[in-house]
Symmetry: C2
Subunit: 339 residues, 2 copies
DNA sequence: ACGCAGCGTATTAACGATCATACAACGTCA
DNA sequence: TGACGTTGTATGATCGTTAATACGCTGCGT
């Protein structure tokens, strides 16, 4: 708020050159002779001149800033993503404006509008819902560079994402191979939400001739450990309870694991548990968790690369491209006791 | 990059009014009659006009943006902080520019300079080191609003932080009260780093007439679970090993806990473990962890409030103020078996 | 000696918004 | 009737930077 600012004009006054000459000199223009440039640079250093990026952006029409929209950064998978996105962007000279939608669609829209108003050069969005993307498609139609961090192949917007459907499929398939027939799922069941994982779960069951049992599904209403605990509680209190449970992320899985401890059940003997995202705490849990793993850096690097590509495009944007990263299953003791 | 932008001028052309009238109308000036304002607002909506914050900032000399500098957002305590800072700032109409220093001092300096260049209205900084703050004090001297998120009372810069020294003291004191005499510590031992926790540890021991044994100290060289595992390994391989271990954060504590599991030791009977930050995973660990807890929202809310206050200050900044939040110890089974 | 190129630097006009001020048109009142 | 206020809108300067262009000088070729 009205802090003193050293401007080109101040350097100009000090050296006796015009503003423009100073500007050129500081940017290393060949039109300025070496000794002039040195004098100007010295003066700039003495005054501790720092270019005003705001003014620069107004002229250049780019802010070298991208907007990152996450639902909630405390989700460990998103934390990792945020970290490596910031890194990848910084390496390319971009800053990261960051905001969370708190899983609220209106909030997501507000944040996106705010970023537009702030003239971000592009956005990386982890949308609240894979189904409600109209506001984002609209952005794209206005030639605004956007890349989603989770999506299905026909999103109509550029996206780079782990193939959640396939990951879930692999996880459940592994459970089936281990002989499980009653396999529960802990995942959001909001029809407007993201049901890739649920789809993969159903696909694996169906393929094996098992029919999905709706009573074996629990909606945790969140992604924290305690949510997983209570969802597990719901499943395990069933008369005909599951012998294995697939959870949508590792925090939930740790909650489920905790439930088994408190209730004196053995994992994997009494019930097997599979998580998703392979966070650090999964590997080092009381019973190391089998989990769906993927290179988060790969996802974020590709997303950033695509975004930069879109930003560099003159005129109309190319057709949207959706890249799905193939995840692998890391099998640990929570599904298969070591021999 | 050269995307089409709807400007005030476009709305002006469409309605036939001047740019200024449009600007006044959209900002709800009482000088513009209602019917004119309605016509202008309708036109603005039709054109999907969004004010250009960059241009606005150039005039108003404020960006309504603050810079958040973290060492590493994957540290769960910092993730929580980042989340609640973003929220607190958004509530007050500020956006968050976010960058990580990756625990590198030069990188920290670079990031701070970049934020200055981008004209952020203020900065919240989690510094790499509590001892090397000269570059930040310099900022303050230039009347730049800065609030640190961790510091000691005589930092010479505004700060709001949990009182790490006191938290560590409480934790170690609790161990002493439980009868432990050989108490290990897993914490960075970099002399230029942050030794508040180590100070508290030493203070508690000394007060109890115990002399700190340097062999009972392990530097994990990081904050991840696996680091805690190996640091614990070092301590527990000692001939005269500790009966209790204090760790600088919960991830390290979870690693230590994991070591005991793998090596068939009982917690707390064979060795007690205390963590710091009371993250979600601590409460739900195989053996629920005793941990130093504090209201992170309180820290961030106070830090944000102070920052906004500094931003609102005309002229010279007030004397720096350091607020230390008093943490509490949550005792769980990792130090005291439930009766 | 004249024209012209090149060089170094200055001038002017943007960028999109806001702010202070100017100025018509109209109404009011002595 | 004319001085004065009010109302509604327009003009011009400004924020700090960059880009395009202008301009004065020197040195060269012919």
């Amino acid at each position: 708020m009205g802090r003193p600012i050293v401007r080109l004009k101040d350097v100009a006054d000090k050296t006796g050159f015009s503003v423009n000459t100073v500007s050129l000199a500081l940017r290393g223009s060949p039109r300025i002779p070496e000794d002039t440039a040195i004098r100007i640079r010295d003066a700039a250093r003495d005054l501790n001149y720092m270019p005003n990026q705001v003014a620069k952006s107004l002229v250049s029409r780019e802010t070298k800033t991208i907007g990152l929209v996450l639902t909630d950064i405390t989700n460990p998978a998103l934390t990792q993503a945020a970290q490596s996105i910031e890194l990848a962007l910084a390496e390319r000279g971009y800053s990261t404006l960051f905001a969370t939608s708190n899983n609220d669609l209106d909030e997501e829209k507000r944040v996106i509008a705010m970023f537009q108003s702030r003239q971000v050069d592009g956005m990386l969005i982890y949308p609240r819902s894979h189904r409600e993307l109209d506001h984002i498609r609209q952005l794209r139609r206005a030639h605004y560079p956007v890349v989603l961090l989770v999506a299905d192949p026909d999103a109509g917007v550029d996206a780079v994402s782990v193939d959640e459907r396939r990951g879930a499929y692999r996880a459940v398939r592994h459970l089936i191979e281990m002989g499980h027939k009653r396999i529960g799922i802990i995942d959001s069941s909001n029809p407007m939400g993201n049901h890739e994982k649920r789809d993969g779960y159903v696909a694996a069951l169906t393929e094996a001739g098992l029919s999905p049992d709706p009573t074996l599904s629990a909606d945790p209403q969140g992604h924290s450990v305690i949510r997983g605990y209570w969802a597990m509680d719901k499943l395990m209190r069933l008369a005909d309870r599951p012998s294995a449970v697939f959870t949508a992320n590792d925090s939930l899985a740790l909650g489920a694991l905790r439930w088994t401890q408190k209730n004196g059940l053995q994992v994997p003997e009494d019930v097997a548990i599979v998580g998703f995202d392979n966070i650090e705490f999964a590997e080092h849990a009381a019973t190391p968790l089998t989990s769906v793993n993927y290179e988060i850096r790969l996802v974020t690097d590709l997303a950033v690369a695509r975004l930069i590509e879109l930003i560099g495009t003159e005129g109309a944007l190319p057709e949207p491209n959706v890249t799905l990263i193939d995840p692998e299953l890391i099998v640990r003791e929570s599904t298969q006791r070591r021999l």
